[in-house]
Amino acid sequence: MTGGATTDGPERQAAKAPASPPSDGSRREPPLLSRAFDALVAVPVALLAEIGTLARLLFETVLWAIRPPYRGRVFVEAMEFIGVQSVFLVALTGFFVGAVFSLQVIDGFRRFSAEGYTGTVIGLSFARELAPVFAALMVSARAGSAIATELGSMRVSSQIDALTTMSVAPVQYLVLPRVVAGLTMLPVMALLFNLIGLFGAYTVATQLFGLDGGMFQERVRWFVDPTDLRQGLAKAAVFGVAITLIACRQGFYAEGGAAGVGLATNRAVVHSAIAVLVLDYVVTTFFV
């Protein structure tokens, strides 16, 4: 519950300080080959350590999920923050992604007189890929960064320690509601992105290029199966857990004052974006 990094006192900073070089100048640089090997190994080791930390936090979160107390109000607040407050951003980006995708698809399909399939391509790509991925990236940029900052500030100002001393499990109080909100609200955001994106694509296709609206709708209805939607929603749920967990991890274990919180926020957004794209591939392999 309370494991992991905490704010550094002078004692621990001293403990972390590198040993000073010997005064007789006898310190030798390690051989080039050894340094190259260390540098090569450092990246995968850091990656594995990060995955391990995330897995441990997820495990603790699941454990705390089955233990009382259940704080309904905290869950609702987290869902409101991650979901409701992201509606405008998701809707806006959804509309323009749909509009620009429609422009590109029609422009491309015109070359071999296949504009009629615009609805099919856009419908499928939104349901399976664009809606969950873009919604996740938008929510991560807005809510993920805010979560990392909030939890990071709480960590460096001892508020998380204060929770522990009051016998309130910080993972249960701070991480669990946010992860559950990510799991439940991201599919809703993906669905919204889907609808608004299709509307944007439809508007461009019919109003700018004069495509037949009925045909556009018919092609979407005909070619986009519930399976495609399920694939998108499953991805969104996975992304929701990933981005909230990464944001919580970065904030929860932040250290080093204001600069550390800034770094945590930065990492939360970058790591989330990478995780979304990697997980997108992984989840897709289960469906195709």
């Binding site: 519950m1 309370t2 403990a15 100002s157």
Partner: protein, 263 residues
Amino acid sequence: MSDDEERKARKAEGLDPVHVRVVDLKKSYDGVEILRGVTFDIRRGVINVIIGGSGAGKSVLTRQLLRLERPDSGRIEVDGTDVVPLNDWELVPFRKKFGMVFQFGALFDSMTCFDNVAFPLREHTRLGRKEIQDRVMQRLEDLRVAHAAPKLPGQVSGGMQKRVALARALVLEPAILVYDEPTSGLDPVSSRLVDDLIAETSEHYGVTSVVITHDMASVFKIAARVNMLYKGRIEASGVPDDILRSENPVVRDFLTASGVAMR
């Protein structure tokens, strides 16, 4: 009757004068030993002060005392029970015995001062809205910060934040109150007010107080027992007069540097 027999007899009556016993506590970070076998007692119902310079291990010791971290070895006996081997779940009843006033208050900045003080009651009791309101306002009035109730922590002064933090620590009526550097960052007048507050709280609520500080003016004003931490060990223990008269060179150096003793 020997000291040990007397202690056992008083313990049987629930009056063991030792509230918390720390035995041979060790803690390292990255192979560097910060606590090197700390042993001392926290006496029941009085103000116990732990002094020491920067880097002596005070903050690390506080974190072990509250079991925010698990020590590498040693024992921390609270009312006779060793809390070191306990897991987070088993620690809950012990943590409820402690109240903690952090160096900078550590108030939740998204909540009003009222909600900060009400938080432990909402988490750990089934009190109704009216009872919580009454109890929180009573604590805030006792500490003369009732007017801060509707404000956010960021809207009140550092001294008031400390009072609100103390109200939050006291609201569940803990048996042991730990203060981490309570006067740090305050002007001399506010520091003495905080000292008075600690003394009043100890007397009024009868709690065992543990004050971690290097403010020597505070020490000689409020302490009943003093433990000096130096390089991860307890260098000296006793009543304030024992410390003041100590011939231990480390203690002398510390007192001299603090301006409370002549070389």
